[in-house]
């Protein structure tokens, strides 16, 4: 097989894996948009906040230590214990649920009935607020996140492809884990929304707020639930991305990777986020591989948006988005 074809196959597979990571971020956006019509600008920052909280809990870090030390003249930094990864993840989920409750209680419930742009602006404010709180709570330094996820080349794939083609493919173990986790997450979300009372209520609210209210569904509860689930998805995305680069402020910028995915897949479809992520991942990697060297490289960021815009020309609602029909 020609080398270029083999390299292309390797890039394609890596594009799929990268797409899964993009989809993980996009999922959080979709969940909130679907249930409340809010484009949550703070989703990326939620991933940062969740990952910082996880590392802080694992390391036994005292939250707001700088503030406490400055106000009370103390020198506390650490509780002196460490917390196992699984327990820390569970505790972080509790924190994210608390955050969801606070977002609903202090921000969103006061904006019920407002225009979508107002709600969007509120999430921009929330993003800046959370950035500041995360810094104040856990500090700005880069933190190493080790929850036991494997990283580096997958030896089996390397060996098998080398035996078959004479060239070993590089697939990162972390990407494989991310794919499995994303698949489990989507299955869990589908099961939850199809087969549980709360899930059905969530779908009802997504379809029609007024109708859902009229049959006794609590909007307050459902939105806390949705923000909690989005917080959990943010935690998963934060763990995956944080394992690659350390937990740091830049995690909040992963939202930029989700936007073309949402444009392509639609804002209201979980399968759309997955398929959109895969198309963007493969598209940008293949374009970089085939065209990048001719134009000086660094095509991925802009090509993802070009690809999304091309799809929008033919399907403005995205691949899986709901078609909006307005009759006059």
């Amino acid at each position: 097989m020609p080398d270029q074809l083999l390299f292309g196959m390797e890039v394609f597979l890596n594009g799929l894996m990268a797409g899964v990571l993009y989809a993980l971020v996009a999922l959080g956006f979709v969940l909130i948009y679907k249930a409340s019509g809010i484009f949550n600008y703070a989703q990326g920052v939620m991933a940062l906040f969740a990952a910082m909280t996880l590392v802080g809990i694992m390391n036994g870090q005292v939250p707001f230590a700088h503030l406490i030390n400055a106000v009370f003249g103390l020198h506390v930094t650490n509780f002196g214990w460490t917390v196992p990864a699984l327990l820390a993840i569970a505790l972080t989920v509790v924190v994210m649920i608390g955050l969801a409750w606070m977002v609903q209680h202090f921000v969103m419930r006061h904006l019920v009935g407002q225009e979508p742009i107002i709600l969007f602006m509120a999430t921009i404010g929330l993003a800046y607020f959370l950035e500041g709180v995360a810094d104040l709570m856990w500090g700005s330094e880069i933190k190493t996140l080790d929850v036991g996820l494997p990283q580096g080349i997958n030896e089996t794939i390397d060996r098998v492809t080398f035996d078959a083609f004479g060239y070993g493919f590089f697939i990162d173990n972390l990407d494989i884990v991310a794919t499995v986790i994303a698949a489990l997450l989507v299955i869990a979300l589908v099961l939850f929304s199809q087969y549980t009372k709360q899930g059905r209520a969530m779908r009802a609210v997504a379809d029609d707020h007024q109708a859902a209210l009229s049959v006794g569904i609590s909007l307050d509860f459902i939105w806390v639930l949705v923000w909690s689930v989005a917080g959990f998805v943010a935690l998963v995305a934060g763990i995956m991305w944080g394992a690659k680069s350390g937990v740091q402020f830049s995690l909040s910028l992963i939202a930029l990777k989700a936007l073309p995915v949402l444009m392509l897949g639609g804002f209201t479809s979980i399968p759309g986020a997955i398929v959109g992520g895969l198309i963007i991942g493969v598209g940008e990697k293949m374009f970089e591989f085939l065209v990048g060297p001719m134009v000086g490289g660094a095509t991925e960021n802009w090509f993802a948006y070009v690809l999304a815009l091309l799809f929008l020309v033919f399907r403005p609602q995205g691949l899986f988005g709901e078609k909006i029909i307005e009759r006059v």
Binding site: F7, E10, V11, N14, A18, H66, N69, T77, E131, G132, D135, S140, E141, I142, T144, L145, D146, Q151, G152, I153, F170, D172, W241, K244, S245, G246, Q248, F249, S250, S252, L253, I254, K257, K285, E288, F289, G292, G296, G297, A298, E300, N301
Partner: protein
Amino acid sequence: MKLKLATMALGAIMAAAPAMADLVFPSLSYRTGPYAAGGIPFADGYADYFTLLNERDGGIGGVPVKLLECETGYNTEKGVECYESTKGEGALVYQPLSTGITYQLIPKATADDIPIHSMGYGRTSAANGDVFSHVFNYPGNYWNGASGAINYLLEINGGDIKGKKVALVYHNSAYGKEPIRTLEELSKKHGYELSALPVDHPGQEQKSQWLQIRRDRPDYVLMWGWGVMNQVAIQEAANIRFPMENFIGIWWSGAEHDVLPAGDAANGYKALTFHNVGRDFPVFDDIQKYVVDAGKAAGAGDQIGNVLYNRGMYAAMLAAEAAKTAQEIHGTKDITAAMMRDGMEALSIDEAKMVELGMPNFGPAFNVSCENHGGPGLVGVTQWDASSKTWSLISDFKPTDTEVIGALIAEDSAAYAAENSIESNCK
């Protein structure tokens, strides 16, 4: 009543404005945002050294130092706002701490007669003091960095790198593109094969670049990265099993936080430097005693000895020494920004002075002149030991290719002079 109000107003003005005798050093820091992890230790080092001078020596030449810290978030517009809001406070010298901010401030500061010190960043051709009268980038610049990296490769290859493949992974910005021209010129001279791989901001996703490196199998990879790009690149290099000892970053890609996230996999990674690393210097004992233990440290006091803390402290030391020189030249303790510029242009650092300052072998000896604002451009190499979590200087500070760099500086600065109708500053 009027007298009372007038007294109160006068009191308020006196409290708000710096005393006339204070030497004002602005610090355009970034303690927030995506680059805070690098900005905090630098800002702490810069602040702590001035605090040390105040606490131990009563300031510079007996005049207290006032540090004006302004948060830029590494954002060019905010950086310019910081400049505009602090320049009227008697600012003596600006360290913009960002190539983008430096480019914006060059014409402004020159017009305002305030010097800029862009140490190891900014506009490289500003080393030509004949054109850039108010900009100083001693003791080294990016082109020295590029040449220093190639010289190091020559050294470990017995002086011959003909036919070797060298890849440059760079931040796709003005900063990241700085070394390309120099590396291209040097490739003609030494016969190595250069490939350049840009990484878009912020650099969280670099799979394509590292797959290409895996396919092309370069002998060496150089990196001009910043922020999250550094951590991801080092992790990706480890993932494809690129030998870390053949991976060399510029000095902005060689701090502790760049290598720690990759853990043991980062062992052996190298970075260029123009100053020493570690905390085994007497000056740090003084900082510990007079600043940290006295509760006057800018941060938690836990950054001492870190690469970027050392760099911030080194920048402050060079600023303080230039201020001392200015005081001597002009025969006054109460110097202005224009006098400070003269002090920077007459700065002379030798090992005896470094020993006296508690920094033996911390940085190279050099003299600044009207023509040469860039210093000697000596470059050293450091290496990361993952087990002890320390950087070590593994080479001396060595000269770079002044023949190639000098020609590039002359060409670029001449173009700037022509564009801006600048006449010779040194005639």
